[in-house]
Symmetry: C2
Subunit: 115 residues, 2 copies
């Protein structure tokens, strides 16, 4: 029984707006968030199949530490989902507004070619 992978997540009150906006200001991460909103909880590889693993971990960690996503280990894999309720409790409507404004741009083949 080896050490289980654990992840730190900020409490709802600790989620800071500048950090969230910064996390969402990167096209790649914004695309990840859009995928998450469409598919719910997904395997981390779905967020960037063609990306180097270390790059994927980097962006995933940033989204997690800013309070945008929740990450949990499942066997070898890494399941990720949006903290929709927490974000909505903290910044009502923000996520919906951002996603609505990003639907038309970058709709095709982003996040390293996720299809």
């Amino acid at each position: 029984m080896a050490a289980i992978r654990t992840y730190h997540h900020p409490d709802v009150e600790e989620i800071a707006l500048p950090r969230v906006l910064f996390a969402l200001s990167e096209p790649l991460r914004l695309t990840m968030v859009r995928i998450l909103s469409e598919r719910g909880e997904v395997d981390s590889l779905e967020l960037g199949p063609d990306l180097p693993r270390s790059t994927l971990t980097h962006h995933t960690s940033l989204l997690r530490e800013s309070g945008v996503v929740f990450v949990r280990a499942e066997g070898r894999k890494c399941l990720i989902r949006l903290r929709t309720e927490d974000l909505d409790a903290r910044f009502p409507g923000l996520l919906r507004t951002v996603l609505a404004g990003y639907e038309d741009e970058g709709t095709t083949g982003a996040a390293g070619g996720a299809a």
Copy 2:
């Protein structure tokens, strides 16, 4: 009659969400935006009285080039206002949502001590 100071502003369609979010992800700029939303069109000095001028120009330019604010020269001064309608046409509700989520934090003495 010398050359009038002119400023480039992106068209409404050119305003990109990642750029806007990045512009709003900086606490200083976020505070500037809040001041603008409270006071309407203001002298640029009101956005950061204690800041070095070059720093102020830097942030003002970034906000302008991302499509968040409109800048016009008035004599020696520089008047700045939010592009509320344009932003709302492009990303409905974004500005209101962001401002609502930032009212409680950083309410005091930010933007270099603007009072």
